[in-house]
Subunit: 159 residues, 2 copies
């Protein structure tokens, strides 16, 4: 499977919003998840590290939750950016979303040593609130499904 | 606030189940969450690291999801262990749970530099399935609520 996406939305986040442990390109200790369009769906690829174990050989649920979370906010950003007439490669600063709620159903143990692929479909439920349905695959195996409600980061967030 | 609990259930997990990145005492790279009884409630304390940022100054949602997740499985283990007549200090091997589903509602930005306190209430919904309602506080501030459905790890889990 491909391991690298081009034109990820996180590449375009404003610098002050690029420090997330999950998806911040400037956070060198973090996962640096990157999310891009694949047709009308969104995709994030990530191979968990050896330490990200649940029991040896399987990925711990918190990593999958993090992947779903940041894939959700990234997907929402892609969608609103596109609605506004832009793609990641446009060079415009995209909107930054935060997570209102996160849900994950763990369907099967997720094997380590495999690139995980999160696939999302985005639905606008309010001009500032998007819902993202997420499926997480290890190879061909659907290991988890999730849903993220993401909202445009309020100007007051860090105040 | 206190930063260390005594008699955490994770201290008693069988060695092969003590490698979780979230709550495994043997995973030196992980969070090493520890969960204990506080009366009829369960508690996990954790101070996120500087790198666990969302935007600078605030904790990223994936860390909070991980905390809720492992607090949930640990709380379920505490509850079933107690039902079986044991406490962590009994020295018996406790049951090991895995997460079936995880839900988190992010209520407020969670400040960094503060010990987070996850508080859980456990409800048995089936002899092998427990539901844990979780509240995550930063100091006195309720920052997130969550719910975990945890099931006894099937013998076939890693097969």
């Amino acid at each position: 499977m491909e391991k690298q996406l081009v034109n990820a939305i996180q590449d375009e986040y404003a610098e002050e919003f690029a420090w997330c442990y999950g998806c911040g390109r400037l956070n060198k200790e973090g996962h640096q998840f990157r999310t891009a369009w694949d047709g009308e769906e969104t995709v994030t690829l990530y191979e968990p590290k050896q330490a990200h174990t649940a029991i040896p050989g399987f990925v711990y649920g918190g990593l999958i939750a993090s992947l779903v979370d940041c894939h959700g906010t990234g997907s929402a950003s892609l969608a609103l950016h596109r609605k506004n007439g832009f793609e990641p490669e446009s060079g415009e600063e995209p909107p930054r979303f935060v997570t209102a709620s996160l849900h994950v159903d763990y369907l099967k143990p997720t094997p380590q040593g495999v690139v995980l692929k999160a696939v999302g479909t985005v639905e606008e439920i309010h001009p500032k609130k998007f819902k993202v349905a997420v499926k997480v695959y290890a190879g061909e195996t659907l290991c988890a499904t999730g849903e993220v409600a993401a909202v445009v980061m309020p100007a007051s967030f860090a105040k």
